[in-house]
């Protein structure tokens, strides 16, 4: 019977002293109106949020300047900072248009996944072939991407080397030294990291190249990962684990990352080149769906093309990546000679490597589980 009371301008006072009225099912009207207002405000604030968001997105589409997003892997941050500057100047000079390049860096596998999930990369410059291929399989990059640029769309190479502590206290000079008791190895997780995959393949291939059998290789790699105390998700996290947290005796990493790590350590670390190691082929690709929608294909293709130009290649070399043009005839200038094998030598093909080594239930799963599950 309290509904009419809600309407009456002066209800009887006792009602408002009751705690019970709070629990009653029907409400006085004005309160209900308040609820409507609150809900309306909530919706309104949602709209404000949306329009703010649209404004944010709209700012990128200014016709005066082109903006590219390069989705890359961990150790290329410094390289692309230099490349982006040089390319912007070059493009401005040749085409009279301002280009600014935004960078995204994380573990190569995660980056590939992010692009598939909608990270709007104009170009991807990732660590391994499967990372770009996965994007192609998702339909964002045309299947012929490898043929679009020279050297199977690999503008620079690297090689997996060792980083050790000052004075090399554990006397690590080649792969068999990693097999000694008590040597702790730092390398990122091959499931997420390109560096991790290459390190795994390098260790495996080092046994095969020295004349060992696949079983020898499996045993060697298994012992290595047993003595890997931390498996970081990306190359940079692994570098921090080794150089800044001081964990481990040897860090398996790309030559370019090794140089940077050693320079940063101010004499606390040094590089060791093993007799042989794996050649790293980081591929690049234009993301067709993005550049077609944003109409940035010209700049995106020029950007990746710039990596192959003499200026691009000299910047590449300055950042300790091996220029591709020189790789047929001995080591490029300033790079030590090292016997190199490729992924095909170790695993047949990247597809096989992904399936047999890094796939669900593959070699890596078989190797790494015992360490974690202790059985």
């Amino acid at each position: 019977m309290d509904r009419p009371l809600g309407h009456s301008p002066t209800p009887t006072p006792p009602l408002f002293a009751t705690a019970a009225s709070r629990r009653s099912a029907s409400r006085p009207r004005p309160t209900r109106r308040l609820a409507t207002v609150v809900v309306a405000t909530l919706l309104l604030s949602g709209f404000v949020g949306c329009s703010a968001a649209r404004k944010e997105g709209g700012g990128e589409g200014k016709p005066a300047s082109i903006e590219l997003l390069n989705v890359s892997y961990d150790p290329t941050r410094e390289l692309y900072r230099s490349i982006n500057q040089a390319f912007a100047d070059d493009y401005q000079k040749k085409h009279g248009a301002a280009v600014s390049i935004k960078q995204s860096h994380a573990a190569s596998g995660s980056q590939s996944r992010a692009v598939i999930d909608g990270l709007e990369a104009d170009v991807v410059t990732l660590a391994t072939w499967p990372d770009v291929e996965a994007i192609a399989k998702a339909g964002l990059v045309k299947p012929d991407w490898q043929a679009r640029f020279d050297n199977k769309s690999v503008p620079y190479h690297s090689v997996v080397v060792f980083v050790v502590r000052k004075g090399n206290p554990k006397g690590i000079s080649d792969w068999p030294d990693l097999d000694r008791d008590g040597i702790e190895i730092i390398t990122p997780n091959p499931k997420t990291s390109g560096n991790g995959k290459y390190s795994f393949l390098a260790a495996w291939g080092s046994v095969l190249a020295a004349g060992g059998s696949p079983d020898d290789a499996r045993g060697f790699v298994e012992r290595l990962y047993r003595r890997t105390p931390v498996l970081d998700t990306g190359a940079r996290a692994a570098t921090a684990t080794f150089s800044q947290k001081g964990i481990g005796d040897v860090h398996l990493t790309f030559e370019n990352e090794a140089h940077l790590e050693v320079e940063e350590s101010k004499g606390e670390l040094e590089i060791v080149y093993p007799t042989r190691s794996i050649r790293v082929d980081p591929p690049v690709a234009v993301v067709d769906t993005t550049v077609d929608r944003k109409a940035t294909r010209h700049a995106a293709e020029a950007y990746l093309g710039f990596l192959y130009s003499p200026e691009g290649q000299s910047i590449v070399a300055k950042h300790h990546y091996r220029p591709w043009t020189a790789d047929a005839k001995g080591p490029p200038e300033g790079f030590p000679a090292i016997e190199m094998f490729d992924v095909e030598f170790v695993a047949g093909s990247w597809d096989d490597a992904m399936k047999n080594l890094f796939g669900e239930g593959g070699e890596f799963d078989r190797i790494y589980q015992p360490a974690g599950a202790s059985n």
Binding site: A17, S21, P28, L34, A35, V37, A53, L69, E78
Partner: protein, 300 residues
């Protein structure tokens, strides 16, 4: 007050001293030392280098600006939602009410990384709403709205959780009195409800803001790590650290830490206000409010 001498005796006993030393050492080691080291590292190259690291790096500047926009938007959404939701829960009884209250707590129990991944699964290109969003040309994940969504999600319980107990303690009587005197909805809200809950609301806002500024996990997943576009301050700290720019990284971290300290001061101040207010409320309630039996019969 009579227990004071005994307290003093306990505190000076060997066990008491040991416990105090343990507590001080723990707080010092886990809280004070890391916090101090952030500031020491941040200023390791002098205040000028600190300022340059913050103001002269466009990506860092953008990260600070981004955090200062994403956090307030998330906090505003949470404030509006929190007030509405707390009011609903405190003033109404309906089926599913306790379920709703438990749902408010989900962001506390779900790992932020999982929350971020869930957002990707819904709003990502391959997600549930992916095709619709692509058709509308609206970017959510790996863009500003995604950061706001993730931040709003993790801070969702903070305002509403703060308000429910206060609103329940205050009760609906004053609001109903206002209605009876002819106040409309807005007047009731601005003149009665809001003044009553203002300190609790402010407390919730301060906590939500602190959490929003510092959020890493959920934002990490949905950001896409685009420097100068989707890196918030905590993400920038990590990125600079990984780029071997530790002093710059710590400079950004010091700003975050300073914000946290400010929050702490605000929180202490607000908590004092809340305490006096709840004492006043209690004092006011003693004579009338609990004498239900006399009027309880009138409700039905």
């Amino acid at each position: 007050m009579t227990s004071k001498p005994r307290d003093a005796a306990t505190a000076s006993s060997p066990l008491g001293l040991l416990l105090i030393a343990g507590a001080v050492a723990t707080v010092g080691l886990l809280i004070v030392a890391p916090l101090a080291s952030v500031f020491v590292d941040a200023f390791s190259n002098g205040p000028r280098a600190w300022w340059e690291a913050l103001a002269h790096d466009p990506d860092t500047r953008h990260a600070i600006w981004l955090s200062l926009t994403v956090a307030p938007v998330a906090v505003i959404v949470n404030t509006v939602f929190g007030v509405a939701a707390a009011w609903l829960v405190a003033r109404f009884r309906f089926p599913g009410r306790s379920l709703l209250v438990s749902l408010f707590d989900v962001p506390f129990s779900v790992s932020p990384v999982v929350a971020g991944l869930a957002l990707v699964l819904i709003f990502g290109r391959q997600g549930l709403l992916g095709p619709t969003l692509a058709w509308l040309a609206v970017k959510v994940i790996f863009a500003w709205p995604g950061l706001v969504l993730a931040t709003t999600f993790v801070t969702l319980p903070l305002v509403v959780r703060e308000l429910i107990p206060v609103m329940e303690a205050i009760g609906p009587e004053e609001e109903m009195a206002a209605v009876s005197l002819g106040a409309n909805g807005w007047q009731v809200f601005w003149r009665v409800t809001l003044p009553n809950i203002r300190w609790a609301l402010l407390h919730g806002i301060v906590l939500a803001n602190a959490r929003a500024m510092g959020e890493f996990g959920a934002v990490y997943v949905v950001s896409g790590h685009i420097a100068g576009a989707t890196d918030t301050m905590p993400l920038r700290v990590e990125k600079l650290f990984q780029e071997y720019r530790t002093p710059a990284s710590m400079a950004v971290a010091s700003v975050l830490a300073a914000l946290a300290l400010l929050t702490l001061v605000a929180k202490v101040f607000i908590e004092r206000q809340l305490e006096t207010e709840s004492k006043e409320l209690e004092a006011a309630r003693v004579p009338g409010a609990d004498t239900d039996p006399s009027t309880g019969g009138l409700g039905k």
